[in-house]
């Protein structure tokens, strides 16, 4: 009989004997039968190890909770696994047996044998937090040769490692033949090691490899962007020490190390990414966990809204607000006609995202002026602004003159109100004069620094007396005043009677009478006052009326030009007329 056939019959006999030993209870029986079967095969020696494992595993599957507390099953499985070179599972069964009670000298001998005499090393994997699922793979290093027994053990171990499992914080020990190996670990909750790890194992000794769980989860990080900075925070534990490392462009820098659960950093530039790694250590410095997060640099600001408003002081308030994105500076440009002027370059991070500035005061001119303010968002080194917005305002026309001045006494105060032309015009301010009697020199009451002022009130000691006063309002911009020349009349007809006679008969005298030596060739004289009023007279004489208001606060040049018959113009006279000429102070001296 050939050897295989012999073995077959031998096995058949043993199965038959096993059936007999079960007392007719049959193979299909339950837990106890399976346990007895397992024990029976186990007694037959190594050749029946696989049968013993099969029966005992079936018992374990049939009643897991009962089996896990049954020293008979656990010890038998430990031995059966060892017989088929499944040493790691054997050791696990011994551990379970020890925990479940009933531990004895046989278990201790088994354990000693496995751990110190079997030629196997212990590879212990530990983790600070559960890792599930975890897939492991072990590969022999090129220079490691396994003998026959070790290869068998390694093959069984490889099968075991191929099954997905969980790693609890208590750790997990695998029995591995002596040699050098590459261990690969993978699982969604695993941070490290990601690449195969070289492990050198010595029979009878334990090698501990700490697996680092991915904690905290990415979802639990908080990332808050400021303009060019980023604030990172994460859930933490008491007593833990954190180390936050940033890696950009292959360069690694520690951003933070300490017990806080937050840290700030420069945000990566647009189009770039920063990879942050957070390592958690316990108080003793043991690396417990790690997590990582990739932060993408934000794109440049692409949206910008700008607004401009003219304020009552003739300043323009320019405001802006930027959309999401990165920006290094904001530039504000004012455009007036074709002329552009940069008003500000804002770098202050606090004012970049939302900011304001005031332009002016902008003094009005003869016509209204359209102003536009362009706000631009810039990244350094960029060729153009990433976003811009424009806001427009219209500067009102300057007040040409004050048309009507009305005065009243109200509650003991003098109320001066006036109208302007144009009605909505503006000036830098208004000078308010009072003339307290006909022929008296006017006095400056106030400078009303309000471009749009139309009223001025001031207290007086004697309101009754003040009711007889006469007020003038002169708009001004800087040194310039704007007077109402409409009241100024120039008459060129010489008087037919003297001033005295005119006074005597109650006629009104002109404010100023000007006469000059006639020019022989002149057929007419052109008289101009301040370039604003011109009259052509044939006699060398003019009278001015309505000079009071125009002369307040200013002087005006009166020019007399002789015009000949051929049209030749010869300037004859240039005389400065000022308020002091009215109401003719010299008149008192004449008295």
């Amino acid at each position: 009989m050939g050897r295989p056939l012999k073995t077959f019959f031998s096995r058949l006999f043993l199965v038959f004997a096993a059936l007999l030993s079960l007392g007719g209870r049959g193979l299909a029986a339950g837990y106890d039968s399976l346990v007895e079967q397992g024990g029976f095969y186990l007694e037959r020696g190594p050749a029946y190890g696989a049968d013993a494992v099969r029966a005992l595993e079936a018992a374990l599957a049939a009643e897991p909770s009962r089996a896990s507390a049954d020293a008979r099953v656990l010890s038998a499985l430990a031995r059966a696994y060892a017989l088929v070179s499944r040493y790691t599972e054997s050791a696990w069964m011994l551990d379970a047996w020890k925990e479940s009670g009933g531990w004895n000298a046989e278990g201790e001998a088994l354990r000693t044998r496995l751990l110190t005499e079997s030629g196997l090393a212990r590879l212990r994997l530990v983790s600070a937090a559960p890792l599930e699922p975890l897939t492991l793979a072990l590969k022999t290093a090129a220079d490691t040769r396994l003998d026959l027994a070790a290869r068998k053990a390694f093959d069984r171990l490889t099968e075991l490692l191929g099954r997905t499992r969980s790693l609890e914080p208590g750790g997990l020990t695998f029995l591995v033949p002596e040699g050098r190996f590459e261990l690969s670990c993978s699982g969604p909750g695993l941070f490290s090691p990601r690449a195969p790890v070289a492990v050198e194992l010595t029979a009878g000794e334990e090698n501990v490899l700490r697996l680092i769980p991915f904690i905290p989860a990415r979802e639990s990080w908080k990332v808050v962007f400021a303009n060019r900075s980023v604030a990172l925070s994460w859930p933490g534990n008491d007593g833990s020490v954190y180390e936050l490392t940033r890696e950009t462009r292959g360069k690694s820098d520690v951003v933070y190390r300490g017990r806080e659960t937050q840290a700030g950093d420069e945000a990566p530039a647009a189009g770039e990414t920063a990879s942050y790694t957070l390592k958690t250590f316990d108080a003793a410095g043991e690396w417990l966990a790690a997590s990582s997060l990739v932060v993408e640099g934000r794109s440049p600001v692409s949206r910008l809204s700008a607004a401009a408003a003219l304020e009552t002081d003739l300043r323009v308030a320019v405001t802006w607000e930027l959309g999401e994105g990165s920006v290094d500076r904001v530039r504000v440009v004012r455009r007036r006609g074709l002329q552009e002027e940069t008003l500000a370059e804002v770098h202050d991070p606090a004012r970049l995202q939302r900011g304001a500035l005031r332009d002016g005061p902008l003094w009005p001119e003869g016509d209204s002026v359209a102003l536009s303010y362009r706000v631009e968002a810039w990244l350094e080194d960029a060729g153009s602004a990433s976003a811009s917005g424009t806001a427009k305002v219209e500067l009102p026309r300057r007040v040409a003159y004050v048309t009507d001045v009305v005065q009243s006494i109200e509650r003991g105060a003098v109320v001066v109100q006036w109208e302007t032309f144009p009605k909505e015009g503006a000036a830098q301010g208004y000078r308010v004069y009072v003339q307290k009697g006909d022929g008296l020199e006017g006095e400056l009451v106030a400078r009303v620094e309000d471009p749009f002022a139309r009223e001025y009130v001031y207290d007086v000691e004697d309101p009754m007396k003040a009711s007889g006063w006469h007020h003038f309002v002169v708009p001004y911009v800087g040194d310039r005043v704007f007077l109402d020349f409409r009241t100024l009349t120039v008459r060129g007809k010489p008087p037919e009677e003297s001033f005295e006679r005119r006074l005597a008969r109650g006629a009104k005298l002109p404010n100023v009478a000007l006469f000059w030596d006639p020019c022989e060739d002149a057929v007419a004289y052109e008289v101009a006052v301040a370039g604003r009023k011109e009259v052509l007279v044939t006699k060398p004489y003019v009278e001015f009326e309505g000079l009071q208001s125009p002369l307040l606060g200013a002087s005006h040049t009166v020019t007399v030009t002789a015009v000949t018959a051929t049209g030749t113009r010869v300037e004859l006279l240039k005389q400065e007329l000022a308020y002091r000429h009215y109401p003719r102070p010299a008149r008192k001296e004449q008295k």
């Binding site: 090393a121 026959l148 029979a203």
Partner: protein, 409 residues
């Protein structure tokens, strides 16, 4: 006279002043007692570990029926007397519990012998012995030895046959363990290949006419010498390419190949050859040879390449477990001269064939000399039936001493 000739003359004069090289003398002989063993018992076959940090030996206790192999750490702190650490049995005792793996001895009363040290492994030593699994009782008709391996983190029987396995010898690289086995009924030389793909046992000799025993490796690990039976007497053979032979997987082809690779180093020899040993440089093979069992043995050397064996000493006591003991330098041997008058003194025998130089040890009935070079010193351990001045001669003890070069004036 030129300067060179002058210097040569000076050197010659200096040598003359020191005296001529006359071999070795033994100094500092004293007993070595391992801790933890009874002082009533006999030691045998001391062996140095390759790194010299440990000694192995066999010990037959007074109350025991069987001998066991032990190891003990050897400490020489530079004082007058080195000492041994605790005795550690090579074969792990079974303990009270049943051995689930059938890899331990089933009893504490095992027999273990023929310690073979292998190259160090990891942080420890590797060794193999021939040991019994079953309890051995005095006068037992059948004792079965298997090979047992002990290395860091691993202790197990390597062979399981019901026939005896004996004379283990590690290849220098530790890949093979050569041994003699009765597996095929009459004793053949086998290899245990630690990294075999399938069956690790490789039969190397197939001669049906008698047993092949006492395999011994050459220092290079490529040749294996052994004793083979031929024509009614035992000859020394050498397999020139043992790895090639071991690499042949087909037993029939291997059998055929063995006939071409195995060489008789002692062709035509009528005397029985005993266990061989290679010289440290691998050029020579030494062996004891005698007419009949019980008669005086002579020590021979023969070139490993072949040639006429040359007797280097007459009347030596052959080793029980292994071949002659070369000095580490390979300049000769340490032997025990068989002399009833002098009670078997130790002697150094030069390879060149000069007269043996007795090594005064102060001991008697010496045996098992084993030299070892450690640092600059040459140590010798041996067993003896007590000192010449000792009244206690019942138990064979372990001794040590230093071999120092001896010059005569």
């Amino acid at each position: 006279m030129n300067a060179r000739r002058f210097l040569s003359l000076g050197l010659l004069l200096a040598l003359c002043a020191e005296g001529a090289w006359a071999g070795y003398r033994l100094t500092g002989v004293s007993p070595l007692t391992p801790a933890g063993l009874s002082d009533k018992g006999s030691f045998a076959d001391p062996q140095w570990s390759p790194d010299g940090r440990s000694l192995s030996y066999e010990f037959l206790g007074a109350g025991g029926d069987t001998a066991e192999a032990y190891t003990a750490e050897f400490f020489d702190s530079g004082g007058p007397t080195p000492h041994l650490g605790a005795a550690v049995p090579v074969v792990a005792p079974a303990g009270a519990a049943k051995d689930p793996f059938a890899l331990r001895s089933t009893t504490t009363a095992t027999v273990s012998e023929s310690v073979a040290w292998g190259p160090p492994k990891g942080k420890g030593q590797r060794l193999a012995v021939a040991a019994t699994r079953q309890a051995v009782e005095r006068g037992a008709p059948l004792v079965n030895f298997d090979l047992y391996l002990s290395e860091p983190g691993r202790k197990r029987f390597l062979t399981t046959s019901t026939e005896n396995d004996a004379h283990p010898a590690f290849s220098p690289d530790g890949e093979y363990l050569a041994f003699s086995s009765g597996l095929t009924g009459q004793g053949d030389v086998y290899l245990y290949h630690f990294f075999a793909d399938a069956d690790p046992l490789v039969q190397l000799t197939f001669e049906p006419g008698g047993p092949e025993l006492y395999p011994a490796w050459d220092p290079g690990g490529g040749r294996l010498a052994y004793v083979g039976h031929l024509g009614g007497t035992d000859h020394v053979y050498v397999i020139d390419d043992v790895r090639k032979l071991a690499g042949e997987r087909d037993p029939a082809r291997r059998r055929s190949l063995a006939r071409t690779l195995a060489r008789d180093l002692t062709p035509g020899r009528k005397m029985t050859c005993l266990a061989p040993s290679f010289s440290p440089d691998g050029k020579w093979v030494a062996f004891f040879s005698r007419e009949k069992t019980g008669e005086e043995a002579d020590l021979y050397v023969v070139s490993a390449a072949g040639g006429e064996p040359r007797r280097v000493v007459h009347g030596a006591l052959p080793e029980n477990r292994r071949g002659p003991r070369w000095t580490p330098q390979g300049d000769g041997f340490v032997v025990v001269l068989e002399s009833a008058e002098k009670l078997n003194p130790l002697a150094w025998v030069p390879l060149s064939g000069g007269p043996p130089v007795e090594l005064a040890s102060g001991t008697q009935l010496n045996a098992d000399p084993c030299p070892k070079k450690l640092g600059d010193s040459l140590y010798l351990v041996f067993t003896a039936q007590g000192g010449t001045d000792s009244s206690q001669k019942r138990w064979r003890k372990l001794y040590w001493g230093r071999l120092v070069p001896d010059r005569t004036n």
